[in-house]
């Protein structure tokens, strides 16, 4: 390219590093910052808490049905007289790990399937969507029970089972976004600028398809936590680990006598889901140039 200008004459353009700019935008959003703080508090509680409050969550420590605050037990005890505070801490680690891991698994599968179906169309789309529908019509709980029954009730299989049954919604959202954005002229423009399929999928269409996918991923974390609760209620989760779901499940029969034992993990799940969805919304806004610059 002989006729290119001398690089030294280019007027410099002040552009912040995209990541820095995005973070700046994120931290200007009060809701998002609140969500982040909330999440950090929950993480500290579950991961640092056990070092400060060293009571075995499986051990009977006091009389059953001790109300929260009584006898020095902040969250009280459950029907077996186990300390709910340490159960909440230990259970939080597992619930959050399962929630996030299952969400990541379903995002990876869902986005891949949806993106390929939406981008390529034709028989590829037909095949992938039939595949998706197959998973969608399976009764999810039953199917995950089968997986757990086959591979044993370990943490890994439970997480995997939840991920595998919940990716279909992500796939459908991704596909419909891809179908819509594929027709936009800027995609045709990139194509005539010699873009490869990979570039079009990951650098052009996916960034524009993100908002509804992020919303879907938010929902996923919450539903994965609840799903694990359902599995452990049925006794299908790993019996050797505590989780928020397990606390709800095991105390459910005594809900009238010890409502707090169900309410406390319930509130924790709610707060976690809230924190994650506030963060997700903040991310979405921070990623959107229209909202970024005014």
């Amino acid at each position: 390219m002989a006729e290119l200008n001398d690089p030294s004459e280019i007027p410099t353009v002040k552009v912040m590093h995209p990541a820095r700019e995005m973070l700046g935008m994120f931290f200007q959003n009060y809701n998002a910052v609140f969500g982040l703080i909330l999440l950090v508090v929950i993480l500290l509680f579950t991961f640092v808490g056990p070092y400060l409050h060293t009571v075995d969550p499986f051990e009977m420590v006091w009389a059953p049905f001790t109300r929260p605050g009584e006898e020095g037990y902040l969250f009280g005890t459950d029907y077996l007289g186990r300390d709910i505070l340490s159960a909440m801490m230990a259970g939080g680690q597992i619930s959050m790990a399962i929630g996030l891991a299952a969400a990541v698994i379903s995002l990876v599968i869902g986005v891949t399937v949806g993106a390929f179906a939406g981008y390529y169309g034709g028989w590829i789309e037909e095949a992938l969507m039939r595949f998706t529908e197959f998973f969608q019509v399976l009764p999810t709980l039953l199917f995950s029970m089968v997986i757990v029954a086959l591979f044993g009730a370990s943490l890994l299989t439970v997480t995997f089972a939840i991920g595998v049954v919940s990716w279909t919604a992500v796939a459908r959202v991704t596909r419909s976004e891809f179908l819509r954005i594929r027709e936009m002229e800027y995609v045709a423009a990139a194509r005539s600028g010699s873009a490869t399929d990979r570039y079009l999928i990951f650098r052009v269409i996916l960034p524009n398809a993100l908002p509804p996918i992020i919303v879907q991923a938010n929902l996923m974390v919450g539903s994965a936590i609840l799903f694990e609760a359902a599995l452990s209620f049925l006794g299908l989760s790993d019996p050797n680990v505590m989780s928020w779901g397990q606390i709800i499940g095991s105390n459910r029969e005594y809900i009238l006598d010890a409502g707090y034992a169900v309410a406390i993990p319930g509130i924790a799940i709610f707060l976690t889901v809230l924190a994650i969805s506030l963060i997700g919304d903040g991310l979405n806004d921070a990623l959107n140039p229209k909202l970024r610059q005014r």
Binding site: M1, L4, N5, D6, P7, E9, I10, P11, V13, K14, V15, M184, E185, Y186, A188, A189, A190, R191, S192, G193, S194, A195, T196, Y199, V204, P207, N208, L287, N288, P289, K290, R292, Q293
Partner: protein
């Protein structure tokens, strides 16, 4: 590399693009004859215009030449390269020689990329020049299309419609193509901005010796900017001539009706009353009639028009018309 050599003229031969067809659960899907046997050639450095009703296949022709829709039949050549037959990597590499500018300045730019990135994208994808050279090239392109190089850092929504169309031009120019296909590049712009873009395009063509394929439904614009013009109706060219002849001596009844339909500042209420009108709407490109496609609306239709599909025939040197009545040189449409 499949470089484009020769005089870089565009040659389109018997281009056909049909959509649909095949069968589905509910029987055969209808075939849309969007482009149905279109041929023309454009000498290097000239502007060829296509006008016609909505749905006549203008955009589809453009997209087929750009290899952005499937070409059902026919050949498209740019210089010595048969671009309609390129595949895979060869096609991707050859794309630098032909670029497109779209109608909608809002949906044709990726909202999540900065203006600079958008213009630079083709250079990055084709690995043209070093990183610094690319930056310099982008800055120069911004100046060429009348934008300030500082504006590279902005996002598309921070530009006005006219500025966005300048960005679209800069992107198309970045790979130094010989052919630029412009699909209604000024239709979405205000008249004052339209003039700015048209003048810019004329200047760029002169400076860079570009070949333009210019699509529009605005006859005034086409008359202003094109050297030769084809009028399309339902997937076919019905008349083709140089810009002076087409407007001075139109032959096809559709062309005449189209010219009569455009209100001009030189006209007035009384003139308007004496114009010939065509009735109705164009038929659908799915169930095409057997004879002339304009027959259902033609003011001078004859019985034979419904039977035979006229082909594009030379009327006089360089002036082609597809009308059965065209064979009679004395034929005139009343009044106008």
């Amino acid at each position: 590399m499949s470089g484009v050599t020769g005089d870089n003229a565009l040659n389109v031969e018997n281009l056909k693009v049909h959509f649909g067809g095949g069968t589905s659960l509910f029987g055969a899907k209808p075939v849309v004859h969007a482009v149905d046997g279109v041929s023309f050639s454009v000498p290097a450095g000239k502007t060829f215009g296509i006008v016609g009703e909505s749905g006549s296949g203008k955009t589809t022709t453009a997209l087929a030449i750009m290899r952005l829709v499937h070409v059902t039949a026919g050949r498209v050549m740019l210089g010595d390269t048969v671009i309609s037959e390129l595949q895979g990597e060869d096609l991707r590499v050859a794309r630098r020689h032909f670029q497109i500018v779209f109608q909608d300045p809002y949906s044709s730019l990726d909202p999540r990329k900065r203006a600079g990135e958008i213009v630079r994208e083709p250079l990055d994808l084709m690995q043209i020049g070093t990183l610094d050279e690319r930056d310099a090239k982008v800055a120069k392109l911004f100046e060429q299309v009348g934008l300030r190089p500082e504006q590279r850092a902005l996002f598309p929504h921070q530009f006005s419609g006219g500025q966005r169309q300048r960005l679209g031009l800069a992107r198309a120019l970045s790979t130094e193509p010989s052919l630029i296909v412009c699909d209604e590049p000024v239709s979405a712009l205000d008249v004052a901005i339209q003039a700015q873009i048209l003048n810019l395009m004329t200047r760029l063509q002169r400076d860079l010796r570009l070949t333009y394929l210019f699509i529009s439904h605005d006859l005034g614009v086409v008359q202003h900017i094109c050297d030769e013009i084809a009028v399309m109706y339902l997937g076919q060219i019905v008349e083709q001539a140089d810009r002076v002849t087409l407007f001075k001596n139109p032959q096809h009844p559709y062309t005449k009706a189209l010219l009569a339909a455009v209100p001009t500042v030189h006209g007035n209420k009384r003139d308007r009353r004496n114009r010939v009108r065509v009735k109705g709407d164009p038929p659908s490109p799915i169930n095409l009639p057997k004879g002339c496609r304009f027959a259902s609306r033609c003011p001078v239709v004859e019985a034979r028009c419904h039977e035979t599909l006229p082909s594009l025939k030379e009327h006089s040197a360089g002036h082609k018309v597809a009308c059965l009545l065209n064979e009679n040189p004395d034929y005139q449409l009343s009044d106008n």
